[in-house]
């Protein structure tokens, strides 16, 4: 019984491993990833503004860190 279980586990592990067989995008396939829209932060100024508003509004719960008293004056 344990032997069969072990065999099953080994089989599962092998199957799971084959999932990693064709990982990775070739350098010449990165054209879509290179588009500006694919960037995590495609507009740094807008992001900074959003984060400032978030930080000021949520300061009573700690905002993005832990200081501040919720006055919105940061």
């Amino acid at each position: 019984m344990t032997r069969r279980l072990l065999l099953g586990a080994a089989l599962l592990a092998v199957i799971a491993l084959t999932g990693c067989a064709s990982m990775g995008v070739e350098p010449w396939e990165r054209d879509l990833l290179a588009r500006p829209a694919m960037a995590l932060n495609d507009d740094p100024i807008a992001l900074a503004l959003d984060e400032h508003i978030y930080f000021s509004k949520e300061a009573s719960t700690g905002g993005l860190g832990f200081g501040g008293g919720g006055c919105g004056c940061n």
Binding site: E26, P27, W28, E29, R30, D31
Partner: protein, 157 residues
Amino acid sequence: MKRLLLAALALLVAAPLLASEPSPEQRIGLPEHAGEVVYVDFWASWCPPCKEALPWLHALQKDLGEQGFTLITVNMDRDRAAADAFLEKIGATDVTMVHDPDGAIATAFGLEALPTSFVYGRDGDLRFKHEGFSVKDAESIADELDELLAEPREEAR
């Protein structure tokens, strides 16, 4: 029976011819430039450092062409029109370009990054390989090229 035998024989003779695919160097036309310093540049129009390198390479071709410098570019864009548009934009439509959208040549060259360049000496041997490009590298690459161009042409095989 005789005809069958003949056909089999013909197949035997033709098989090696059919099987021998051109080498990656042949596919980009490298053998045609024996005795020259050949700079093979893999690039794509969506790759910022590649776009930085190309105007510089184009200028090199103009400056060093008479000394035996040849630039062969391999473009990796899916759509050739994008590559042509970029070359037109920088005024480098005279650059030799091989289109390799499915990466067959790149795979054969073992490409791991874009841009990557392979520099062949006058003897046809691979002498330098560069991955990535920054304007800071331009000077050292130019020095390498000067060194290769200074080698005598007679040594060419």
